[in-house]
Amino acid sequence: MTLATAVAMAMFLGVVIYALFAGADFGSGFYDLTAGFDSRGSDLRTLVDTSIGPVWEANHVWLIYILVIWWTGFPSAFAAATTTLFIPLSLALAGIVLRGASFAFRKYSETFAQARLFGAIFASSSVITPFFLGTAAGAIASGRVPAEGYGDPMGSWINPTSLVGGCLAVATCIFLAGVFLTADADRAGEVGLASRLRTRTLAVGVVAGGVVFAGLYPVWHDAPTLSHGLRTAAAALLVVAAVAGLATLVLVYRRRFGVARVAAVAAVAAVVTGWGVGQYPWMLVDQLTINDAAGADATLVGLLIVVALAGVVVLPPLVYLFRLTQQWTRT
């Protein structure tokens, strides 16, 4: 394994973690959005607030982690992507900003009208953001980001693979959030809320699974390099995703919400990892390999030091924070 591959893997680990944590986070915006008007939706909105409260901002950090490793480790590929995907990235960014700020503002809102305004912005931007990030991923995976940058500003992200990527991102976010919120509601003893969420999560799960596997069909034709990888190296991961996804549905149906979370995480992680493995060894599919895109060796070593440091400095307190907040919100 080359130095560049190691850094690319560290970066992709960030992508997987971001997809999981921010995914659950974004997806909860969907339930917030569709919770119903005013007092009808208030128990669900309170649950969303409580569930993502302690972790929601940490999720941005994963995104920053990905961006920083990308531009430091693979600068030319980064510049190629930002110049080509200016529009979807800007729109995703706008979503992130509106979402983060309005979530904070809603929490402090004094009046119901204020809370409703900020809540609506929060919820709708939560759904928009993963869509645009997904289209950007689709552009890279289908070879539409040229190595020298400044590719087609519209066609690069409005195409079959990008649209599949966008829908897939939204669907997996909603699916993950549904499983987590159901488990949280159940643990908090809110039986009515939990059973409402359970029904929705089951419906969402079926749709999400459908999107993932139906999406393979257009990708097959639109992104030959990726689909070759998906058929060969990543095939096992797709099987894992299918099995874990089905297991999640069964577990949610049988009200084993705690274990269902593990299965859901496994399913989504397998889908995302499948994409990564499927396009290996390309950084920008058909354009730039990981090794060709890599920056100076000294910098790659520096990045690996940062990653190792993160494992030591960041992970233990992060785990501690999760454990504390889980205990505290329970009592």
């Binding site: 309170t46 409580t50 409260g53 302690p54 901002e57 940490a58 950090v61 995104l63 920053i64 961006l67 920083v68 531009w71 430091t72 480790g73 600068p75 030319s76 980064f78 510049a79 190629a80 992507a81 930002t82 110049t83 200016f86 990235l89 800007s90 960014l93 992130i96 900003v97 509106l98 983060g100 700020a101 979530f103 904070a104 503002f105 929490k107 402090y108 809102s109 004094e110 900020f118 940058g149 500003p153 908090a188 003893g189 809110e190 920056g295 100076a296 000294a298 910098t299 790659l300 520096g302 990045l303 940062v306 440091l309 960041v314 307190p317 924070l321 504390l324 907040t325 505290w328 919100t329």
Partner: protein
């Protein structure tokens, strides 16, 4: 050729995306820097009141710590968002910089990300910890926050210092080679620039927070809560405000060696003179200085620490390498004037206090204290404007022109307009929320929610 004409030619030669890209970056950086100051300095200030609350069993101090923690959570939340924006913008607006030099300048950003992560996590633990952790351990959660503020400042400023003092690479046949990211990170300019910004953060936060309590005192809320809420941040701000002119002076002297064109613009020096006068105010129009108040020799003293050493003029710099002189000059001097006034103000307060007179009973001093917060923010904005505009037309000093760093995407005015609207909205939102928190606190509500904090007691089911 008249200068005005050549200006127009230069403007026409610029790619269309350059101006909106610079404006968008300026707005998002100018917004973020204020919040970043709070992330850097607030934990340390909170630590002092919180510690006082525990050690002396002082309920007033504990109450302050609790409120400040919630305020810092709101500001941190917005800052996290505006920081994310910046990391996108590095690529969206400056692909020419990141694509070529990403592996040279990127490493400090990685460390900054790390320290930001640490701060976010410990802020979460701290907010959840009230009444749930042993008090001493809970207090200690602020320490990693303060430390990561220092590290984060160093890293971000390090990248900017590198743009002013490029190091850690060489260029052969137009290709960037021999990359040494550590040398880039620890470039010659980093320590002083870091110190300047770190101290500025304490000035901003100290003066803004003490100003809030000064406003309360002005309205007759003269109680222990307001007096302590004023004093602790004011002490921090005082130390910072008095140290800052000295740090700035030493930093300014470096510029003579590293960036003479910037210094010439700071000093509005059209021609090289020694001894050089200090020109207060004034603008350069068609190669002539208008409306400046000249103080003989002071220019040499400030820039060179000497009575007669020459200050290099713009005549030593090729015309196409001039920064926009007037913006640079006026921003620089506004920063200096405000900084000096703030230092004088805090000095006066402590002198009189030493003589047994407390200016907290003086309405004029309280008005000054209220104004000092916004003034400190202005000084930071002016300072960044001066150093950034003064570096033009270069993004990386004498290596990469800003025109080559900027994206050539069309339609940047759209994204700039959107950024402007969203940021105005965020500012208004933050203002409304903070005001309403203050109102509710005054009305006696103790348990307000906060972004990273636990749910309110009454909403836990």
């Amino acid at each position: 050729m008249p200068v005005a004409f050549s200006d127009a030619v230069l403007l026409l030669a610029d790619p269309p995306g350059l101006l909106p890209a610079r404006q968008q970056m300026a707005v998002s950086l100018g917004f973020h820097i204020i919040l970043a100051c709070f992330g850097v300095a607030f934990p340390t200030i909170i630590y002092v009141v919180h510690r006082r609350g525990i050690v002396r069993d002082d309920q007033v101090a504990l109450g302050l710590a609790k409120r400040w923690a919630k305020v810092s959570a709101v500001l941190f939340a917005i800052g996290a968002v505006s920081g994310t924006v910046l990391s996108f913008e590095m690529g969206l607006l400056w692909p020419g910089l990141m694509g070529r030099f990403g592996d040279v300048l990127g490493l400090p950003f990685a460390f900054e990300g790390l320290s930001f992560f640490v701060e976010a996590i410990f802020l979460g633990i701290y907010l959840y910890g009230w009444g749930r952790m042993p008090p001493r351990l809970h207090l200690a959660m602020l320490i990693p926050m303060g430390v990561s503020g220092v590290v984060g400042t160093f890293c971000v400023v390090s990248v900017n210092a590198w743009m002013n003092n490029p190091a850690g690479f060489s260029i052969r046949d137009g290709e960037v080679t021999d990359v040494n990211p550590w040398r880039a990170m620890f470039n010659d300019g980093v320590w002083l620039q870091f110190l300047h910004m770190w101290v500025a953060a304490f000035m901003v936060v100290g003066l803004v927070v003490s100003g809030v309590y000064a406003a309360g005192l002005l309205r007759g809320r003269n109680d222990a809560h307001h007096r302590l809420g004023f004093t602790v941040p004011f002490v921090f701000a005082s130390v910072a405000a008095i140290a800052q002119p000295l740090i700035g002076h030493v930093l300014g002297m470096r510029i003579h060696d590293s960036q003479p064109a910037k210094l010439a613009a700071f000093e509005l020096a059209e021609t090289t003179e020694g001894p050089a006068p200090f020109r207060l105010g004034g603008v350069l129009i068609d190669g002539e200085v208008h409306g400046a108040l000249e103080i003989p020799r002071l220019g040499s003293i400030i820039a060179r620490n000497s009575f007669d050493a020459p200050v290099p003029g713009l005549d030593t710099v090729p015309r196409q390498d001039w920064p926009p002189v007037n913006i640079t000059h006026l921003s620089f001097q506004s920063m200096v004037v405000i900084g000096t006034a703030l230092a004088a103000g805090v000095l006066l307060y402590w002198l009189l206090r030493w003589r047994g007179r407390d200016l907290l009973d003086n309405r004029w001093f309280l008005r000054f204290a209220v104004a000092a917060g916004p003034l400190a923010i202005l000084a930071v904005e002016f300072g960044w404007t001066a150093t950034e505009v003064g570096r033009q037309p270069w993004t990386v000093w004498h290596i990469l022109r800003t025109a080559d760093a900027a994206t050539t995407m069309a339609g940047l005015w759209w994204s700039y307009s959107a950024v402007l609207i969203i940021y105005v909205g965020m500012t208004v939102g933050a203002w409304i929320v903070l005001r309403s928190m203050a109102r509710r606190w005054r009305a006696g509500e103790a348990d307000l929610p906060s972004p990273y904090g636990p749910p309110r007691e009454d909403s836990v089911t």
